[in-house]
């Protein structure tokens, strides 16, 4: 039997809220959201965009060494982040500031590595949010292993919503080419692990368009490994929420992995070091601006709910407070002590390393001007 790949030129996206702000239904992914929840999602979107733009500004001011903006991807990240239950684990790349936000991570926690005062430095267990991972794709295998642990702990398919646990692994379109990501697919499928692979296809891997990585839509990749794949409008927070919820439930209930391709767009540069004018045209940007993830929710709230002006004014104020928190907090992040580089290399540090530390400490002391100690 020959299986011809079913190439769908423009495959349907799961969409529940059009770019114009109109609610539509989807046969597979129904969602029942109250206006209050919608406002709450809107709040997240707005605040995530705000903290992101604040960080970009801080980089320009020299307060951060680098920033990887999530501009344009807020709906994908908030939708996915809000679908998680407390016990679920998530493994981000370096761009999931919106997921971090939904998990309750203080944005300042994220800034450390971009400022260069640490390499991440948070505890994944604090918010069930993994450390930012810069090596493309590596975290998908960590998600796989974590899901093995979940499975061994009996926290899959028990039917108890407090117990059953899924793992959500984030990665980009470019990452789908890495061996690690495909090995994660292999293993999760073969072992029927409770992991959801959430690919934000933002159309670019730095300067390379997604066509450099694949000639078919990425969500189709999953079927080759034997698990379902779905493409969702990554700029539609409702659709992302509904689809991720369903996928996580699929995983928690013991049906194994699922892949989600959130079709979205990187509205900014790859990072603050990047210059996208060298490789892409502004027309593309204009097209995607019309599909803005926040604008459509605002339209809906204004037109189809009784959200009053106070809500928006209050949110503006909250947004300002967050921005101030980010700015002030960033500047206050202390530089590490030179000797701190030795602190956490090992749990049980070798004598020789401690000697190296002591020698260096003595060397540093030798610069202290006489009488200054």
């Amino acid at each position: 039997m020959t299986l011809e790949p079913s190439v769908v030129a423009e495959p349907d996206l799961v969409q529940l809220l059009t770019p114009e702000g109109v609610r539509v239904e989807h046969p597979d992914y129904a969602i029942d959201v109250h206006d209050e929840q919608l406002r709450s999602l809107y709040r997240d979107l707005v605040l995530v965009r705000r903290l992101d733009s604040e960080a970009t500004a801080l980089q320009r001011q020299g307060e951060l060494g680098l920033w990887a903006s999530c501009l344009g991807q807020e709906a994908a990240q908030v939708g996915a982040g809000r679908a998680l239950r407390e016990q679920d684990m998530s493994f981000p790349t370096y761009r999931e500031h919106g997921v971090a936000w939904c998990r309750g991570v203080d944005p300042l926690t994220l800034l450390g590595l971009f400022r260069g005062v640490n390499l991440g430095g948070w505890d994944p267990a604090d918010n069930n949010f993994g450390l930012y991972t810069i090596v493309i794709g590596a975290q998908t295998l960590h998600a796989t292993g974590y899901a093995m642990g979940v499975q061994r702990d009996g926290a899959v398919g028990s039917g108890d919503p407090e117990v059953d646990t899924a793992v959500l692994a984030f990665f980009g379109d470019g990452a789908t080419s890495e061996g690690d990501v495909n090995e994660a697919f292999v293993w999760s499928a073969a072992a029927n692990l409770p992991v959801v692979f959430f690919c934000q296809n933002n159309q670019w891997a730095i300067s390379e368009p997604v066509e450099r990585q694949t000639r078919v839509p990425l969500f189709q990749r999953a079927s080759g490994f034997g698990f379902p794949g779905v493409r969702v409008d990554g700029n539609d927070v409702l659709a992302c929420l509904a689809v991720t919820r369903a996928a996580l439930e699929h995983a928690r209930s013991g049906q194994g992995p699922m892949m989600i391709e959130a079709f979205t767009y990187r509205m900014g540069a790859h990072t603050t070091s990047d210059d996208p004018t060298r490789y892409r045209v502004s027309a593309e940007l204009e097209k995607w601006r019309l599909r803005d993830p926040i604008e459509r929710v605002r339209s809906y709230l204004v037109r189809s709910t009784d959200t009053d002006a106070d809500f928006f004014t209050d949110l503006d104020a909250e947004s300002e407070r967050l921005a101030e928190h980010v700015r002030a907090g960033c500047r206050a992040l202390p530089d590490p002590e030179p000797l701190s580089v030795f602190d956490t290399v090992y749990v049980d540090a070798p004598v020789e390393l401690m000697e190296q530390r002591d020698t260096y400490a003595a060397y540093l002391d030798s610069f202290v001007p006489a009488g200054a100690s």
């Binding site: 991440g120 590596a138 796989t144 994660a184 293993w187 070798p350 004598v351």
Partner: protein, 323 residues
């Protein structure tokens, strides 16, 4: 206790670790029913089940990457890499994740992962089955690197490696898997301590893993020439037990380091560098190195010539005495 093979000593160590801690899981290719190609995990899947002794997909990066995830979930994974030459697909996960995650989290997470690797040559195998990649890992901050030369050490060290909260690359001298010796439950010897396996006065030989037996043979042969050689088994390659090494060289004044790995940029280089720095005035001769040549591991029909042997060690000892 009765004498057991080195392979069995590790097997018993793994078993004991699994009994002591339900979070210990083994993972690797063919470690289940087959018991591993060297039978080191023989019988463990039968006794501990498929959830704890895991026959993995054929993907080394995944084995190590999944171990990282398991560790994050509170497990204590022990990975088997089938042969030394197959650890390279996992190199990225080892160097950039296993070695660095604890530090990346500023101490919040721990990586109690043991990666077992049968290493070295001398068993007549085909390409990629006789490599000695230990220097790559010793040069990688965040990892600890252990070897063993006897059943007794193999048993204790594997248990210590699993028990420690730091990641350990555990090199097993595959051509010594069938050597027999007693094992004991005494875990009191510190994991990173080198051992003087033969005291001597005239010249120090340093070896580890498969070369310890060869170094001991050389020391015995040297007696005939009236040379009393001291032999040190490093056991720990990273960190190195520099104190034990220096104490010996300060007494003997001469040092020959032996390993199978290509001599350039190998363990011998680091040891020579440290000793000439820390025992500058004690050395009566330069530190000499006997190792594999700076070539890929050769076809098996010529491996005995390529590998350091008693004669090549004695040749170096003789050269040392010419100073």
């Amino acid at each position: 206790m009765a004498a057991v093979t080195l392979a069995k000593a590790i097997n018993a160590g793994l078993r004991r670790a699994m009994e002591d801690d339900p979070k210990v899981v083994l993972m690797g290719e063919d470690i289940g029913k087959l018991g591993g190609v060297f039978r080191v995990t023989d019988g463990l899947q039968k006794d501990f089940g498929e959830a704890r002794v895991i026959d993995t997909p054929l993907a080394e990066s995944a084995i190590v990457g999944a171990a990282v995830g398991l560790a994050l979930r509170g497990y204590r994974p022990v990975c088997e890499i089938q042969f030394d030459g197959f650890v390279y697909p996992a190199f990225d996960q080892i160097v950039s994740q296993v070695a660095k995650m604890h530090n990346r989290s500023r101490g919040a997470v721990r990586m109690p992962i043991t990666i077992r690797i049968p290493f070295g040559g001398g068993i007549g195998a085909v390409e990629h089955h006789s490599e000695s990649p230990e220097a790559y890992f010793a040069h990688t901050a965040g990892l600890k690197v252990l070897t063993c030369a006897t059943p007794a050490d193999a048993h204790v060290l594997i248990r210590q490696a699993i028990a420690t909260d730091d990641p350990v690359i555990f090199f097993e001298p595959k051509r010594r898997y069938w050597v027999k010796g007693e094992i004991s439950d005494d875990l009191s010897v510190p994991m990173h301590e080198a051992r003087v396996v033969r005291p001597g006065t005239d010249c120090t030989l340093i070896a580890y893993g498969p070369m310890v037996a060869t170094a001991l043979d050389a020391a015995t042969a040297a007696e005939a020439d009236g040379h009393d050689l001291e032999v040190i088994d490093l056991r720990s390659l990273s960190p190195l037990d520099t104190a034990t090494i220096l104490a010996s060289v300060e007494r003997t004044g001469r040092l020959v380091v032996v390993h199978e790995a290509s001599v350039s940029f190998g363990l011998g280089a680091e040891i020579a560098a440290r000793v000439q720095e820390k025992a500058f005035y004690s050395l009566q001769a330069p530190v000499l190195r006997v190792g594999g040549f700076d070539t890929p591991y050769p076809p098996s029909r010529v491996e005995e010539e390529w590998l350091p042997d008693v004669d090549r060690i004695l040749d170096a000892v003789d050269r040392s005495f010419t100073y």
